[in-house]
């Protein structure tokens, strides 16, 4: 499978593979886009160095990178990042687990759907920063609060997608399982769950991005450590290069997490890509 198909970017109308003529090969590689990023960074450097953007809030890229490197080498950045990542994963996995369980129950048992659908629809649209103050009242400003915030926000995308996944299980698969005497919880575990897995992964991917956002927000509002706290306090202390370094760090973290996720997804759902590819032909 091509790299494009594996990446998480939606792949609209794939351009027909024409034999490369002239320099056309150039923009067919990933390096073309990477080169564009490098170009933008160079422009940044130039803009800051020549004073096009006359502001102390706009340091040269090279200075930001130098500071970033120092923060990495000194271990300071990792000191902030590690607790952040741990909170994020803690909340994310709790949210995903609950989302899958509730989504399966709602999709599979009418009782749970009737019970939980209204409350889901009421709670889901509330932006997480809005209930953050309430959560602080009950859980304080420590890890419990952040893990709760992240878990709660991660829950809904997984829940909704799992529910849709369960609803779209092919009835013929369910009937087939029934003729082999597979019913009830066994049916849920053996047929419904794997069949809904592509949907569940879609939800998990959305939730991963949400978890990262909520992690940073909750650390900016109330924390004494973490990457969100680091970025905000750098800005308040006029350590502008540190601030940019923190944001760059998040870019890298987000990128790595997503690549990791895609790699796992491709392994677990290899059958799904093959199957849908086959169906299309």
């Amino acid at each position: 499978m091509s790299d494009t198909a594996k990446s998480d970017m939606p792949t609209p109308v794939a351009p027909p593979a024409k034999p490369a003529v002239g320099v056309a090969w150039l923009w067919k590689t990933r390096w073309f886009g990477v080169g564009f990023i490098v170009l933008l960074l160079a422009l940044w450097e130039l803009a800051a160095a020549s004073g096009w953007v006359p502001s102390m809030s706009f340091p040269r890229m090279s200075a930001v990178l130098a500071t970033w490197w120092e923060l990495i080498v000194s271990g300071e950045l990792f000191g902030e990042l590690v607790p952040s990542i741990l909170r994020m994963f803690g909340g994310y996995f709790i949210g995903v687990a609950l989302g899958v369980v509730l989504g399966l129950l709602m999709g599979y048992f009418r009782f749970f759907y009737s019970l939980l659908e209204p409350i889901t629809e009421v709670l889901r649209p509330i932006p997480s920063p809005a209930y953050l103050p309430i959560v602080i009242l009950f859980l304080g400003i420590d890890d419990e609060m952040k893990v709760f915030m992240i878990a709660f926000a991660s829950l809904f995308p997984v829940l909704l997608n799992t529910y849709s996944g369960v609803r779209s299980v092919d009835p013929i698969q369910l009937q087939t399982a029934r003729t082999f005497g597979v019913t009830g919880w066994k049916l849920l575990w053996q047929i419904v769950l794997p069949s809904a897995a592509p949907y569940i992964f879609t939800g998990m991917r959305v939730s991963l991005a949400v978890a990262l956002i909520v992690m940073v927000i909750s650390e900016m509002v109330a924390a004494s450590s973490g990457i969100g706290y680091f970025i905000l306090s750098a800005q308040r202390g006029f350590k502008i290069r540190d601030m940019f370094a923190g944001v760059l760090t998040l870019a890298v973290v987000g990128y790595v997490l997503n690549r990791l996720f895609v790699a796992i997804e491709n392994r677990v759902l290899a059958w799904h890509y093959g199957y849908t590819q086959q169906q299309r032909n």
């Binding site: 092919d170 013929i172 698969q173 009937q175 087939t176 399982a177 029934r178 003729t179 082999f180 005497g181 597979v182 066994k186 053996q190 047929i191 794997p194 069949s195 897995a197 059958w271 799904h272 093959g274 199957y275 086959q278 169906q279």
Partner: protein, 269 residues
Amino acid sequence: MVSASEPFLIIRGLRKVFAAPGGTTVALNGIDLEIARGSFVSIIGPSGCGKSTLLQIMAGLAEPTSGAVFLDGRKVEGPPRSVIYVFQQYTRSLFPWKTVERNVAFGLENRESLSRDEIASRTRQIIALVKLTGFERHYPWQLSGGMQQRVAIARALACRPDVLLMDEPFSAVDALTRVGLQELLRSLWRELGLTVVFVTHDVDEGVYLSSRVVALSRAPARIAIDLPIELVHPRDQIVTRALPQYLEYRGRLLAQLFADEGLVATEAA
């Protein structure tokens, strides 16, 4: 070949009525049928006549409005252990996340209390029987249509059912693949002493495969013809299909179907 006819599968006064927004539809209107152990019965009829509904009720996948199905003296309520249903849509009934061997082992893992080794060896055996050795680790969607339907048959046979209920199993494959599958099914039926109920809309297929053909009328379906097929075994796709006896069976069944559909099958002079 066919053993002494003790009624093994009994269908009594079966009615099925579907409630729809625009009124009710009577799909089956009092079907009575007795099927002997070890027989191969084809059910033919115009499309939409309720053939599949009848088969699903026999499989315990659907409930009759009234009447009942008895298997070996016991009323069918829910899928019986000794009956396996093979769907027409093999691409949808095979589990795409399981390899061929996992698909074939599915029934064994869930129905029987066998050790891992026993499951593995039985799976291997049955895969060899449908001539898919070498494809154990493939996924169903990597195989051709005919091969996929063989996986579905293997999965059904792995549990050593007494009865195989097949709903137009070969209608989605090309003509040559279909011949191969027909021969495979015939040999499995004879070898394993199965009772097969085979739904098809293809009269030729029904006559060639079966020891008995039951033609249903248009919905609300009743039995229009119940025809024992006394063609000798072993059969041959070319020789058997040219026998006068074969042609007579075929003619009678087609005439019934055409009449039922109000179809004029003669070219104007």
